[in-house]
Amino acid sequence: MKTERAPISFNVNGAPVALSIAPMRRLSSVLRDDLGLTGTKVGCDAGDCGACTVLLEGDPVCACLVPASALEGCAVRTVEGLGNGSLSALQASFLAHGAAQCGICTPGMLMAATALLECNPRPNEAAVQDAIGGVLCRCTGYHKIIEAVMEAHRYLEGEPPSRFDFRLPASGNAVGASPVRLDGLPKVTGAEKFGADSFPKESLSVLVVRSPHHRAAFSFGDLKAYAANTPGVAAVFTADDIPGVNRFGVIPPFADQPALAEHETRFRGEAVALVACEGWAATQLDLADFPVAWQPLSAALEPEAAQAEQAALLHAGRPGNILVRGFVERGEPDRALEQAACVVTGHCDTAYVEHAYVEPEAGYAFVEHGILTIVACTQAPHMDLEDTAAILGLAPDKVRIVPAATGGGFGSKIDISLQPLIGLVALKTGRPAALAYTRAESMMSTTKRHPAAMTASIAADADGRVVAMVFDGAFNTGAYASFGPTVANRVPVHASGPYLTPNYRATARAIHTNGPVSGAFRGFGVPQATLMQETLFDELAERLGIDRLQLRLRNALRNGNETVTGQRLEAGVGIGACLEALSPPWARALADAEAHNARASGVRRGVGIASCWYGCGNTSLPNPSTIKLGLSRQGKVVLHQGAVDIGQGSNTVIAQIAADALGLPLGDIVLRSADTAITPDAGKTSASRQTYVSGKAAEKAARTLRDNILRFANASPAAQFHLESSVLTVWEGEVRRHIELDRMAEDGDGLVFSAEESYDPPTAPLDAKGQGTPYAVYGYGAQIAELEVDLKLGTVRLLKITAAHDVGKAINPLLAAGQIEGGIAQGIGMALMEEYIPGRTENLHDYLIPTAGDVPPIETILVEVPDPEGPFGAKGLGEHVLIPTAPAILNAIRHATGVSVRKVPATPSRILAALAEAGPA
């Protein structure tokens, strides 16, 4: 139903505004839809995420909870009003500190912090935490944000622009420097356009009808009548309208997921129909009125139920509901276990974990000159293109994907979500079609981290050398394949941890259920497996009476060792260096804990450690990146940067690599986006591959470009370049050659010199026993967690995380530290609070992720053991950083209490139950 409009006058960022609007319209919608101020983000529409924080009469409020009627005569400030054409001190400080990664929470953070700074210009950490406690960030781990707020006053002195000295490093000095991110400015001004920020006015709004049941048959009523009789509805579409192959999946041989379900839905939230309506009608339609009849069917939500004899098969041809089995075997694990001096055995369970990026999936589609263009947030534009084209029955060259800024992804925005849905509407109606998922839709319908049920045994000799390990993991892969095969294959390769394990067998099964689809999430199953392995290592150390760090150091892989897949690691193995770097903090932490525990009884302190290793790029599969760059007539280095930057920093890191390989300063580079029409495929942003794989492609392309120029200038490799306006100077000693770029002919990309190179990591297939070379480069790390457990409440207070990560070469140390802090925050969530339950936690107040008060101080130690394969020696980092956190926390809980918690999240309830089970201490 509609409510009458009313005139409302207020003031936004100093300018008067007079509107005639429905009084209960949300302020967030008024700002974004009526006034075009899209800097204010919508993350949940429920006051749970704070992304829409604005100042109302100077006080921070959630714009999604403020009715327009409350605005009469009031002053509203948004992120667009902070800088007055320049940057506020706080915005400058955010840039300088790397406080914005993906940038979706940044406007809300800036507004919440601005309110604090206006009454307390030099706040302490606690005051900042209190001020931003209501704004969720999923990327940064909050510390860089808190530092930026605390130090904002330093940017108040002097006059702009001198007070904002963001000069980029000189030629040859880009790699290893920490310049402000090249894409940082729009993130702090609110100008960045995320998926929902640039919908064309004339767009049809797309609403998605979804299954309310875990499994159901369904039939439609009179859709034509519904479309004809519902005001504002332009059209309704179902699976019958899909012109192509209604099956998609990130791994083509396993593609099994319909864009719109046919006859039966396999999980709650699965889409069955689309309602395309005029924008004004979208808020007045109640999808409860949509003519669909549901017949709930028996659903299997757990792998045990899905594997029961009478269980229905989710997909024909997958007997036992098993999607994929992964297997790695080496040596004689059973015999070695039998004969070993010491064997420990255990089990460990994990929950569904939601990515909980603050930006729900959003985008729009339109058809122009026969090309379907989709502008949406994504981690993998070229994969989006292929899947969308196939579903819509279009030739690949008739689809163009233009990545919007992506407000966090962490794996889930690799799979397509709304791309075929908006594409279908645009194609069928000829009008632009726009859709922004609600928070509930995003949580229900997109992928999760696989819940795992794992068992393992690890055997060592009397000296504490691991002789064997056996691992088995059942991974709930949900209703469709997504990256289930990747998880099943990656886990057995990594379940040993970065330790020499001569006898080994690991099995992993991806099992279909009627749960949400499990897919890629930072680590592809390895964080779960590492929980199993690293907690058993602590039991092993205890049984053997060996210090826990020493046990790990004793078994750490070294150069020349063979992994559990029989891959001989010739160089670049950095786990020993990481553990050695942690030795002094480990000794200090143990002493602190002992001293504390000698004094106190009700609150016990504990220290835990865990390691990680992680292969960068696809497992034994081709995984190329292509990078193109060149010089324009205007005298810029144009970098076609196809490695989608979802906040992790590839726009900056790839450019830093390219700058130094080319021999021109970073400041000469301008970026072209990962638009599939203009930029070659740099692969998906996943598997910690962009710095290494795309970075290597960028290095190769930049060196080729350099060679091309040198040849043109008839100069030797020792020559140096200098760009000034449109003149490239090549000089060698006294000889200078000036190349007037604006007089040269440009190619179709507007380049006068150009180069394009690909790089594909040299891997080899795994044999039947999982032996082979799955990855060309591995990264390593280890973390120490210090915490206190309240024995009466089962609550955990984290005191500190110390993280040592071997990145090979820190191309950008600030961004690397940002990855580490953010990954740790996600690891904390996995360890202590995150558990997605379909139908129950489809919002951000029942599904909890860490807030600014939940991430303890983090000390980052960047270890650089160069890898000969990586660009400038660099390795991947993005997923590694999350892996050790949860096991280190569980190990610290055990150290504090003597009790092993065998299911994460280790909620207060579970910890207290484990303590009770163990009996009085």
């Binding site: 009084p23 006051g47 935490q129």
Partner: protein, 285 residues
């Protein structure tokens, strides 16, 4: 078409309430999340034009908290230590963004078992003033909130004020919220306590209220009786010996019933000890 009204006087508001079915909206922080993305189908009575319903006054033997008073205003109000628990709870209602607009009456009328404001108000013997065109009635808060999302509010009534009897505004108070993260969290359990300690360290009065452990936050009458007249040093033992049989927690995503019963006993002890002045307990759960 739905109706929207923003009356400027209480009389006008009460007249409208007498005429039809209205959804009363103040801070709207519970209204929008419950609406979600569905279209608005209710007639809205926006009471934000009623300026008289905001602020805290002391009249006629009561502290009178206007229905629209925000949690931020409560945090900053000049009130005796018996209100410390309420002020601490005010800092835990959502985040600052929520506290700036959410009203105390909304927290009560929303009738969530996890309403942060209710236990401290129960510990203050709070009453609610319910106004209708036909007259005003006053109910004890414990008789007003009847169940999960259920109150004794009649359709023609507006909750206009919360009344704290001056006789209850004595002693010291404390509030502890147990949740799985630091900010913006729905409690697993919470406890509000208020005690009046005499010169000998004995508790002349004790109020204990617990939230999130029953459909409606409850006063623990049995425990209060056991505490009254006893020395504060005996708090832990007295709580341990008490049955707490007013509570009937459930298993949910935040914790098991068994956990709640065990944990709430501990936070009750801590909240009592904090109110008794044990500085060790200031840094609560």
């Amino acid at each position: 078409m739905t109706r929207y009204a923003r009356p400027k006087t209480l009389d006008e508001a009460l007249s409208l309430l007498g005429e039809g079915h209205w959804r009363v909206v103040a801070g709207a922080t519970d209204f929008y999340p419950s609406l979600g993305n569905r279209p608005l189908t209710e007639d809205i009575l926006d009471i934000n034009g009623l300026t008289g319903l905001r602020g805290i006054a002391r009249t006629g033997g009561h502290f009178v908290i206007g229905a629209r008073t925000s949690w931020t205003e409560i945090q900053h109000a000049d009130l005796p230590p018996a209100f410390d628990a309420l002020k601490q709870a005010a800092r835990e209602v959502g985040a600052i963004q929520i506290q700036n607009v959410a009203s105390i009456a909304g927290n009560i009328c929303n009738a969530s078992p996890a309403a942060d404001g209710v236990p401290p108000l129960l510990a203050l013997d709070a009453e609610v003033e319910l106004s209708a065109r036909s007259g005003v009635r006053v109910l004890p808060l414990r008789e007003f909130v009847l169940g999960n999302r259920k109150t004794a509010l009649r359709r023609d009534e507006l909750l206009t004020a919360i009344l704290i009897p001056e006789r209850a505004a004595r002693g010291n108070s404390a509030f502890i919220k147990l949740g799985a993260r630091r900010y913006l969290v729905i409690s697993i359990a919470m406890a509000a306590t208020r005690i009046v300690v005499d010169a000998d360290g004995r508790m002349a009065e004790a109020s204990v209220a617990v939230g999130s452990c029953s459909a409606v936050a409850r006063r623990l009458a049995g425990l209060e009786q056991a505490l009254t007249g006893q020395h504060t040093a005996a708090i832990a033992a007295l709580v341990a010996a008490s049955a707490l049989d007013e509570l009937s927690p459930i298993d949910d995503v935040r914790g098991t019933a068994a956990y709640r019963l065990q944990a709430v006993r501990e936070i009750v002890v801590r909240a009592l000890q904090t109110a008794a002045g044990d500085p060790q307990r200031r840094a609560a759960a």
